[in-house]
Every structure is written in structure tokens, then in C-alpha cells.
């Protein structure tokens, strides 16, 4: 556990996860998959927080992770509720179908 390079590689990993999540947001057309990609990005950020918290020796990062998780949960709930409403309205889950707010 004292391996110093853990921290560095953990941050690298978080970077990779974040990047993959971003790609997912752009390249997928299913709304729910996009939401899942966002969760992936959040997890990448969480990992970075924990890693830095370990490096700094304080618990502040982990406290923040705690709150991020809470917020992520709330966000997922509301987001999925919106998805349900959208599906009811348009009967599709294609991201590009919802472009009423143009102009």
C-alpha cells in the first residue's frame, strides 16, 4: 500500500477512464448509454480524488468523493426519470431525435 507509483498510475487510469467516458458520450446514440458514459466519467474523477487524497495524506478528497457519489445518485435518478418522460413523448431513445430546442 505504500507503493508510491500507485498514486501516479491511479491518476493515469482515471484519465483514461475519463477519456473513454467522454468518447462514449459523443459516439453513442442511445440516451441511457450516454448517461452510463457520464457515470464512467464521474468515476474517473472519483478515482483521481482518492488517489490525490492518498498522496496528500488527508481525508478531504475522500469526503468529496462521498458527496460526489450522493450527487451522482441523485443525478442518475432524475436523469432516468427524464428519459422515461422523453420516451413516453417520442417513443424513441435516440439522442438526435430531441432537437426541438433549436434556434
Amino acid at each position: 500500500m505504500d507503493h508510491p507509483s500507485f498514486v501516479q498510475h491511479a491518476v493515469l487510469l482515471s484519465l483514461v477512464l475519463f477519456g473513454l467516458g467522454t468518447l462514449g458520450v459523443f459516439l453513442r446514440r442511445n440516451v441511457i448509454t450516454v448517461l452510463m458514459s457520464i457515470e464512467l466519467m464521474l468515476n474517473g474523477a472519483n478515482l483521481a480524488f482518492v488517489a490525490f487524497s492518498r498522496a496528500a495524506g488527508t481525508l478531504d478528497g475522500q469526503v468529496l468523493v462521498f458527496f460526489v457519489m450522493v450527487v451522482a445518485a441523485a443525478e442518475a435518478a432524475v436523469g432516468l426519470a427524464i428519459v422515461i418522460a422523453l420516451h413516453r413523448h417520442k417513443d424513441t431513445l435516440d439522442v438526435d431525435a430531441f432537437n426541438v430546442m433549436r434556434g
Binding site: D2, L15, I32, S37, V65, F67, A74, V83
Partner: protein, 163 residues
């Protein structure tokens, strides 16, 4: 021993992340995400945060992903039609470029950083509790419960049949 565990979990995380974004069937993506979350939990534990590791499994993998699966089942989602819409090529190209840029920037900095020795670290649950209920974070802690309440109400309202 820890090193092997760490790199194995890391590899698993990356692979399942790729599955998440690559898989056509959203149900498979959801499961792959669960795998990613669990491997991340392992890594949290290896970084000396047992509380967070457990929380990750309970909240993220246990609650949020279940919710995702619920909705997927409810909406009876099939594999998505894969015909790319107009402009997806450009969009994708630009996105990839930006992401690559981002990763490269941060990576360049990161690679050259020299990590110092990790100091002593007490990340037990008791310690976490002491911090969370301390005057510094108490207000925020209570506020999040209000937040959850709001999300609850919002979700119900939004998903109702007749608003």
C-alpha cells in the same frame, strides 16, 4: 502482491470501460459498467480507503446501476440501430481529437511528476465519520439529504404519466 492486484484491477477496468462504450446492446453496457465499478472499488481499497471502496459497491454498483437496469427493462430497449446520423463522422472525429488533446496534456504533466513518499494515513470509517460530522462538513452533509429529497420528488414528478 498488491501490485499484481492493482494492475489486474486496472486492466479490467479499462477493458470493461471499452465494452461499456463499444457494446451495442445497452444491457451489456450496463453490466460492463458494473464490472468497471467493482474493479475501481478494489483499487480504492488498495489506495487505503476502505470506506469509499465499500460505498462504491453499495451505492454505485448496488443502487445506481440497478436503477439503470430497471429503466432499461422498463423501456424494453433493444439494440440500437447503428446507422450513424448525418454529421456523426465529423462530430466523432472532433470529439476524439479533443479527448486525445485532453489526455495528452494531462498525461504529459503527469508523467514528469515525481511522486514523493506517501505519508501515514488513517482512513478508517471512524475517522471519516469524525470528519463528516464535524462542524466543517456537517451543514453540507445535511444539505445533501435535502438534495436527495429534491431529487426524489423531481424524479417522481417527471416520470409520472400525467404531469
Amino acid at each position: 502482491m498488491d501490485a499484481i492486484l492493482f494492475y489486474a484491477a486496472a486492466a479490467l477496468a479499462v477493458v470493461s470501460a471499452l465494452v461499456v462504450i463499444g457494446q451495442k446492446n445497452p444491457i451489456y453496457s450496463a453490466f460492463a459498467l458494473i464490472v468497471t465499478l467493482c474493479s475501481l472499488s478494489v483499487i480504492f481499497a488498495l489506495l487505503g480507503s476502505p470506506f469509499i471502496a465499500v460505498l462504491q459497491v453499495i451505492v454505485y454498483a448496488g443502487a445506481i446501476m440497478v436503477l439503470f437496469l430497471f429503466v432499461l427493462m422498463l423501456l424494453n430497449v433493444k439494440s440500437e440501430a447503428d446507422a450513424p446520423g448525418r454529421g456523426t463522422r465529423t462530430l466523432g472525429a472532433v470529439a476524439v481529437a479533443l479527448v486525445a488533446l485532453l489526455v495528452a496534456q494531462a498525461g504529459a504533466v503527469l508523467v514528469r511528476a515525481e511522486p514523493g513518499p506517501a505519508p501515514a494515513f488513517d482512513a478508517s470509517t471512524r475517522r471519516m465519520a469524525e470528519i463528516l460530522f464535524s462542524p466543517q462538513f456537517l451543514y453540507v452533509f445535511e444539505a445533501t439529504s435535502i438534495l436527495i429529497l429534491a431529487a426524489l420528488v423531481g424524479a417522481i414528478t417527471l416520470a409520472k404519466k400525467d404531469l
